[in-house]
């Protein structure tokens, strides 16, 4: 389909512009994330970092430039193909987890596998395995309303990684947690992702979170700037 830029590059943005109507939100963003790499984007609220994240995930279409995933330009793909990518190759972690309240922890975790067509029993087994690794094995049968905020966010992490995606997009994954919980969840999240070779694009306004990343970008008024390691 498209040329492969590098063997380890998973996702990249090349001169991406995004505007809501006449208002530019992202301007000429360039970014590249390799397999197993954790890239953090920090910036003030309203700086455009979440919009960039959803551009990278193929949810929002750039007004200019292109986003490439494993060598394929997302703009060239149809809706069904992008949906399939999101189902099978992408993972998502949201600020409030957004677990389905009616499903058990185990069923929430297994959801991406089930959506990808896997049968119930092996999907639940795989979910159980990830939950065990995150120390949530005892909570399998509980509902999201019956676990704490930190545990709920861990379940969201398990859901994002259960199908071993190529890249996880995390939008303020610890934004709803206290610092102790945030640190623990982030550690488990990034540890599991790295062990699987999953790339992570992390949007946060917390410098402490960004400090855990391999590469760091800052966003200000829609302009993305790579930040040199300290």
């Amino acid at each position: 389909m498209g040329e492969v830029i590098g063997t380890s590059e998973v996702i990249s943005a090349e001169g991406v512009d995004l505007a809501y109507g006449a208002e530019p939100v992202v301007r000429g963003a360039r970014l590249s994330v390799a397999r197993g790499e954790v890239a953090a984007v920090t910036g003030a609220s309203g700086s455009g970092k979440s919009s960039l994240l959803y551009c990278l995930a193929g949810v929002l279409a750039p007004t200019r430039g292109r986003v490439r995933f494993e060598g394929r330009t997302l703009g060239d793909l149809g809706d069904d193909e992008i949906s399939a990518l999101r189902r099978e190759r992408f993972g998502f972690v949201f600020q409030y987890g957004e677990l389905l309240p009616e499903l058990t922890v185990e069923e929430n975790t297994a959801l991406p596998l089930r959506l990808a067509g896997q049968r119930k029993r092996p999907a639940l087994a795989a979910a159980g395995e990830v939950l065990e690794r995150l120390g949530l094995g005892d909570l399998r049968e509980r509902r999201p309303s019956q676990v704490s905020g930190g545990q709920s966010q861990r379940v969201a992490v398990a859901r994002a990684l259960v199908h071993r995606p190529a890249v996880v997009f995390a939008d303020e994954p610890t934004g709803s947690l206290d610092s102790a919980n945030a640190s623990a969840v982030l550690k488990e999240f990034l540890g599991l992702a790295r062990s699987q070779g999953t790339a992570v694009v992390l949007v946060t306004h917390d410098p402490a979170v960004a400090a855990q990343a391999d590469s760091h970008y800052t966003m200000s008024d829609g302009v993305l700037t790579p930040r040199e390691p300290a």
């Binding site: 979440s50 959803y54 995930a57 949810v59 929002l60 809706d79 949906s83 399939a84 999101r86 189902r87 099978e88 992408f90 993972g91 998502f92 949201f94 600020q95 409030y96 957004e98 677990l99 389905l100 309240p101 009616e102 499903l103 069923e107 959801l111 991406p112 089930r114 959506l115 990808a116 049968r119 119930k120 509902r143 309303s145 019956q146 859901r159 994002a160 939008d171 303020e172 934004g175 709803s176």
Partner: protein
């Protein structure tokens, strides 16, 4: 007041979504108020009908002074309607007294017709027989019960109605001779409309008042945590619901005004009214403008109770409790009683409706309905839980898990529709029962006329009326009032064997030319009249009264009549040749028979009227006023059913839409992780359709059992009514389909990440 204003501030300052929700609440409420206004106006419409019918009723006396204006009122069946004709023969007294709707009384040969009768006369020339004379004008609205009434004033000569006409004293009574709906039936009608319309309506208004309950509860919990009092928190919530209900009530009344104008032009089958009849009364306006906001106030306060009492739990979205199982006991008890009564229908001694049964049977039906409503959430919960655990289908799993955690909220709305179907089954049973006593089910229809009012030529002409299959004369024997001893008594049919055969299902042993005893194994045999007893008849022949004595012979004819029949219970067959040709038995009636097909009955009645326009014809077994009332009842119940279905379906769709709006963040998140739109649509459909279908199926089953219990104890021939099942099932499937279709657009293809909650 401070909290009320804060509630309004939150409502109008909370963004577009909040305003859309407010408009949805107001629009939904307006639909409900429109239906409420219609239900409240129905008795007013019926009262207006009865009032006008009473005001034109002739006041008359049997004493006829010289120069009296004579009137004779005849009401004959026309299909299932009554065709009322008032014959007027003007005299010198009270000739200037005119009924409402007329300027003057008709002169001989003049007709004043209702618009419907005018159309009928134009379209059906055969009706001319009923209306001798030429049309002079139309009767005004003040003189008609309703715009569709068949009514006529027929001017005639005094000699035409000299025998039966009464002296006119004036017009108008304080009550209608035949109310549009009997007072006892009106009570039942109110109950039925209450079940069919007001119950779903109450649920609908509650649903509208509680839209977006979860997000509103979180906001209210925040206010409570910030220091607002429990009562203040409830008032903040009530402010929004009250304003929406008030706006909805105003819109609803305006919608009703439009509906009234449209309905008075199009009308309903068997029920039409003038615009003024359906005008909004002060009490209806007051109920709608005060009652609905009041209901909204209470619902608003109650729905904020959790947020006010336990704000932390609401903020954390604690898991809803499992539904209680107490209703199951009521359902089992009620069903036990109802099935028991149904079972007696299979025995030789079915239960009746007297004694203890008069209490136990209705109690069983009430318990069944109540138990059904209270048990549905538990049934839905248990089924959803079981299916969700066992199914391998992701769609079914997601849908059932949703129903498992939200059995109450969904079932509240389902309950309205379930009660609707249950009540409709029951209402159908009552209609069947009413119809059984007013409309005979025999394959023949008999007609009875007073013999003395007919000339020989008229009798011959009546026998030749198209559709008439046979004719005969019936008479009762004469009892001497001065005799002290027991006198045998019998009723006789004066007919040939062929004529008798045309009136009965079967007759055996008839010999022409012989007086014979009639024996109907299903009927009694008079007061002890036995073979050899003398039976006496008073006979007028050539202006002379004589007594004819016949002995009840031994030879008998065994016969089996239809039910009802003009010759039912007759003991004696007298051949016409046994009487002098010009003799007439005192009190005898001339009877005719035809097929019972409605069109044929209509044709025969028109034919009879053409021969003897002023004669009173009694169609045996038909209660025309009863039939008219049933037609009105059927119409009102059908309207109630349709309104209930509309309201119930709207409530279901609005509720499902609201829940879908509240779940947008979760649905977006699931879409982002790759769920296909079709999967989510299927989930939405299954989630809506499964509990609804279970509820409707159970309502249909229990409703039919309740209906059969009612019919069995009613003692009628029909005990198991399956005729209504397809209609109800179709309505139930329709509701499920509309609800499912309404749920489909709630899942779009576009993914909007803004819907994901972020700080």
């Amino acid at each position: 007041m401070r909290e009320f204003l804060l509630g309004l501030r939150l409502l109008f300052g909370a963004g577009r979504g909040s305003r859309v929700r407010f408009l949805l609440m107001a629009a939904g409420g307006s639909l409900g108020v429109c239906c409420l206004a219609l239900v409240l106006t129905v008795p007013q419409i019926l009262d207006a009908h009865d009032g006008r019918a009473a005001a034109r009723q002739p006041q008359s006396a049997s004493a006829r002074p010289a120069g009296a204006t004579l009137v004779l009122q005849r009401s004959d069946p026309y299909g299932s309607k009554a065709f009322t004709r008032v014959f007027v023969a003007q005299g010198t007294r009270h000739a200037d007294e005119v009924p409402p709707g007329l300027d003057r009384l008709p002169g001989p040969g003049e007709l004043f017709l209702s618009p419907r009768a005018h159309d009928l006369l134009r379209d059906q020339p055969d009706v001319k027989g009923l209306l001798p004379g030429h049309e002079e004008g139309l009767i005004g609205a003040a003189g008609l019960a309703h715009p569709d009434e068949l009514f006529a004033y027929v001017g005639t000569e005094r000699g035409e109605i000299a025998d039966e006409g009464r002296a006119l004293k004036g017009w108008g009574y304080s009550y209608a001779p035949f109310p549009a709906v009997e007072p006892s039936t009106l009570t039942y009608l109110r109950f039925a409309l209450g079940s069919l319309v007001l119950l779903p309506l109450g649920i609908f208004l509650s649903v509208c008042a509680r839209l977006s309950a979860a997000s509103r509860n979180r906001r209210l919990a925040s206010l409570r945590l910030l220091g607002l009092t429990t009562r203040g928190t409830q008032r903040v919530n009530a402010a929004e619901t009250v304003v929406a209900a008030l706006l909805g009530a105003l819109l609803g009344l305006a919608e009703y005004e439009v509906l009234n104008q449209v309905m008075t032009r199009t009308g309903l089958p068997s029920l039409r009214w003038y615009p003024d009849d359906g005008a909004l009364s002060a009490s209806t306006v007051a109920v709608c403008l005060i009652g609905c906001p009041l209901l909204a106030w209470f619902v608003g306060r109650i729905s904020a109770r959790d947020a006010a009492a336990n704000p932390l739990a609401v903020r954390r979205s604690s898991a809803p409790a499992r539904p209680a199982g107490r209703g199951g006991l009521l359902l089992v008890t009620g069903l036990g009683i109802v099935v028991g009564y149904c079972a007696t229908g299979f025995t030789d001694h079915p239960a009746d409706s007297i004694g203890v049964n008069a209490i136990v049977m209705p109690a069983g039906i009430l318990l069944t309905g109540l138990g059904l409503v209270l048990t549905l959430p538990l049934i839905s919960y248990a089924l959803a839980r079981r299916v969700a655990r066992r199914t391998g289908s992701l769609t079914l799993n997601l849908a059932m898990r949703r129903n498992e955690v939200e059995p109450g909220s969904t079932m509240r709305v389902v309950t309205g529709l379930v009660l609707l179907v249950f009540s409709a089954s029951l209402a159908q049973g009552v209609l069947i029962q009413l119809e059984q006593v007013t409309r005979p089910s025999a394959p023949v229809q008999d007609y009875s006329l007073v013999l003395s009012a007919l000339t020989g030529e008229q009798r011959r002409a009546l026998a030749e009326v198209p559709g008439v299959r046979g004719h005969a004369v019936t008479a009762e024997s004469w009892l001497d009032p001065e005799s002290d001893g027991d006198q045998p008594w019998a009723s006789a049919v004066i007919a040939t064997c062929d004529q008798l055969a045309s009136f009965v299902q079967e007759s055996k042993g008839c010999v022409d030319g012989k007086v014979m005893r009639l024996s109907d194994p299903d009927a009694g045999t008079g007061q002890g009249a036995g073979p050899g007893d003398p039976i006496r008849f008073r006979v007028r022949d050539g202006g002379k009264d004589t007594t004819l004595t016949l002995r009840l012979p031994r030879e008998k004819i065994t016969y089996d009549t239809h039910d009802p029949s003009a010759v039912h219970g007759a003991d004696l067959l007298v051949p016409p040749s046994a009487l002098p040709a010009s003799a007439r038995v005192d009190g005898a009636r001339y009877v005719l028979t035809s097929g019972s097909d409605h069109a044929e009955v209509r044709r025969v009645l028109d034919g009879i009227a053409a021969v003897v326009p002023t004669a009173e014809v009694e169609p045996v077994g038909i209660n025309i006023e009863g039939l008219q009332q049933i037609a009105v009842l059927e119409t009102l119940l059908a309207v109630g059913m349709v309104m209930g279905l509309v309201i119930g379906t709207a409530a279901f769709v609005v509720s499902a839409t609201d829940r879908a709006m509240e779940r947008r963040a979760q649905v977006t998140a699931v879409t982002l992780i790759g769920a296909r739109a079709r999967t989510l649509r299927a989930v939405q459909c299954v989630q809506v359709v499964v509990p609804l279908s279970i509820g409707l199926a159970l309502a249909l089953l229990t409703g039919k059992l309740a209906e059969s219990a009612y019919l069995v104890t009613g003692g009628g021939d029909i005990r198991w009514d399956l005729a209504g099942v397809p209609v109800l099932a179709l309505a139930a499937v329709g509701v499920a389909a509309v609800s499912a279709a309404g749920a489909l657009p709630l899942v779009g293809r576009r993914v909007d990440p803004e819907l994901i909650r972020r700080d």
